[in-house]
């Protein structure tokens, strides 16, 4: 390469003229220099000269430059690939700021060049720039090259040095041509695949929609702005709306649909996921109840909307009410003949209708006991219905726990004698505070706990009852030396009608309601009930009742 610098030009802004080989340097706005450069290019072409390199001098501050240097070659020759590349690169750097281009010839036969582009990181422009901008510059360069029908590829890049190396070839090699053909085919295939996938997606969407639409629960889908994006026919019916009337509207801004209004109010004038379940009660045209739940639609950790589900519970509630009414009625009807049997037997046993033999008395006593069991069963059933109806209201009065426990112990005397089990009540030494409770209810709990402790004890076993208190709670403990509760069944012990296997083996009769009722009573008093048990060793039950004034 035989380059001969022809002219070294510096500009002087003050006079607005060009100086040759001058030493003065002044600050000049970059756009002005650019304008100058383009004039220069045109002049050079006219003169038949070739511009080999130009350079903007050191800048002091943004958008200003000290000098513009242009190197010219006097004779106009046919531009080499190398110089063309250099020119285009320089043109781009002109736009972007300062940069450097180094070009090496690698293989003359194959007309292979390598261009190293470096851009100055100190420039404000590059400091701000991000990687994508750098890429943008690269793409720009590539396009400049492509214009000249050359083939270029990125060889390497060094982000730290802010440089990239491009390999440039004058003619596109065959294998590359082949590759490009492949790329074209691949692209076509890709397009087809995308089309197919889009269709599948569409089908999937339709499927989901069909599922949602044919759900028997009412369903409304909201986007993040509380706009209704989908409503299924059931929800339309419940809310008395048509999809077309409300679709894509914000629920808070829709008016003229009273039931929809009521739903929004029920949800607290927002469509938010609170984990709470709401109840919507409609009175027209007939009374209907709905369980309303709100769930978020989540797409990769981001909530994209809400689903509101309306589940009709009218029938469930009606069935529950009927069941409870039936049990209540049946229990009351059963109580009357049971009282008659109880009274007759008692009077006969007591000798109110003439004296009877010892043996007759014993038989009748057994009849009386069976009848009592039946009465207890009916009473338990009645209590359970009341608990389920929420009617198990407690009649709270200040009561002495010691009295309640002592009474319960006395009531069980017959069974303790039969079973040869001893009940020990560790009475507190200091005076014990009175607690506001429903005496009948707490007596029932004590009765249940003690009954179990004695009934499922071993002959000669022991039941220990003790009470203690702190400032907040009264705590009662009932400890037995009985059969215990199998570990696997412990979690179900407070369930309605549940009886542990070993309990069923010991006593065939029993309702499995005692602990269920007890738990409900204790919880209605704001207390807690729990236990620890080991099979064949015994159980300990505790319950607490808060001391309130």
């Amino acid at each position: 390469m035989n380059l001969k610098p022809v002219k070294h030009i510096q500009i002087d802004n003050q006079r607005g003229a060009l100086y040759s080989a001058g030493k003065q340097s002044l600050l000049v706005p970059v756009p002005f220099i650019k304008a100058l450069y383009s004039i220069f290019v045109r002049l050079a072409e006219k003169e038949g000269a070739e511009i080999l390199i130009y350079k903007i001098g050191e800048a002091i501050g943004q958008g200003y430059a000290q000098s513009l240097e242009v190197l010219l070659k006097k004779e106009k020759t046919k531009l080499t690939v190398k110089s063309k590349i250099k020119m285009s690169c320089n043109a781009i750097f002109m736009e972007a700021g300062w940069g450097r281009v180094k070009i090496r010839e690698i293989d003359t036969d194959k007309k292979l060049l390598e261009a190293e582009l470096t851009y100055s990181p100190s420039r404000e422009f590059f400091k701000k720039s991000d990687y994508s901008l750098e890429k943008g510059i690269l793409v720009g360069i590539y396009h400049e090259i492509a214009k000249e029908e050359v083939y270029g590829e990125l060889v390497s890049e060094n982000r730290k040095k802010h440089s990239v190396i491009l390999r440039i070839q004058k003619e596109i090699p065959e294998e590359i041509k082949e590759k490009e053909k492949m790329v074209l085919i691949t692209r076509k295939k890709l397009e087809q695949m995308i089309k197919r996938k889009t269709k599948e997606l569409q089908e999937e969407r339709n499927k989901t929609r069909t599922v949602l639409v044919s759900l028997t629960d009412g369903l409304i889908v909201f986007d993040r702005e509380e706009r209704i994006t989908l409503i299924n026919p059931d929800a339309e019916k419940i809310l008395n709306v048509k999809e077309a009337e409300i679709i894509n509207k914000k629920i808070g801004q829709i008016s003229g649909f009273p039931i929809l209004d009521k739903l929004y109010k029920t949800l607290g004038n927002k469509v938010e996921w609170t984990g709470q379940r709401y109840e919507l009660v409609l009175n027209k045209p007939f009374k209907r109840c709905f369980n309303v739940s709100v769930a978020p639609m989540i797409d990769e950790k981001e909530t994209i909307g809400m689903i509101v589900i309306l589940h009709d519970t009218t029938r469930e509630k009606e069935v529950a009410r009927m069941k409870s009414e039936f049990v209540s009625l049946a229990a009351h009807q059963l109580r009357t003949p049971l009282s008659a049997i109880k009274w007759i037997l008692r009077m006969v046993i007591d000798g109110d209708v003439g004296s009877i033999s010892e043996e007759q008395t014993q038989f009748l006593e057994r009849g009386y006991e069976s009848n009592e069991r039946m009465i207890i069963l009916i009473n338990d059933l009645l209590n359970v219905t009341r608990i389920e109806e929420g009617r198990f209201v407690c009649n709270l009065k200040s009561q002495s726990f010691e009295d309640i426990i002592e009474e319960a112990v006395v009531n069980l005397r017959r069974m303790t004698e039969q079973k040869k089990v001893e009940i020990i009540f560790n009475k507190p030494k200091k005076s014990f505070p009175k607690v506001r409770v429903d005496k009948k209810c707490i007596a029932l709990v004590m009765q249940n706990l003690l009954d179990n402790a004695v009934r499922f004890n071993k002959p000669g076993g022991k039941v220990t009852v003790s009470i203690k208190h702190d400032k907040i709670n009264t705590e009662v403990m009932v400890k037995d030396t009985g059969i215990g509760i199998p570990r696997l069944q412990q979690s179900r012990i407070f369930s309605k009608f549940f009886r542990a296997d070993n309990a069923v083996r010991t006593e065939t009769e029993g309702t499995g309601l005692g602990l269920f009722i007890s738990k409900n009573i204790i919880e209605a008093h704001g207390g807690k009930i729990w236990f620890e048990s080991e099979e064949d060793k015994g159980s300990v039950f505790w319950f607490t009742i808060p001391i309130k004034t």
């Binding site: 109580r335 008659a340 009274w343 008692r346 007591d350």
Partner: protein, 144 residues
Amino acid sequence: MKAKRTRAAFFGLQYQLKPKLRIMKKILIIEDENILLDLLQKKLIQEGYEVDTARDGQEGLDRLDKNKPDLILLDIVMPRMGGFEVMERISKQKDLKKIPIIIISNSGQIVELDRAKELGVKDWLIKTDFDPQEVVDKVKKQIG
């Protein structure tokens, strides 16, 4: 038991003359279940009370007008007129509203108990939970 025997001995032959002596307290039982009514009647007569009976609320009110008792044993669920209506009627009549009432019923919900208390009922017994002797004890507690 001991007290009963003493009383039986005390009345002895005079048992037949009982109505004339006018020392016996009168109890009206209003109860639709025949067996229970009979049993209670028998028990209370044995205890030395004079007993009048009615099988529903309406009949009970008629008996009240004719023969004012010292105490009423009243059932709640009855044909024609229930216990609550009887109590409401009685509470409106000056001469009757001071008669103590003890409810004998198999229903016993808190709401009912509260309403009965408002109407001045003295006691409430669930029939299956009490023996006839205990009913007698409750009666004695009220009128001796």
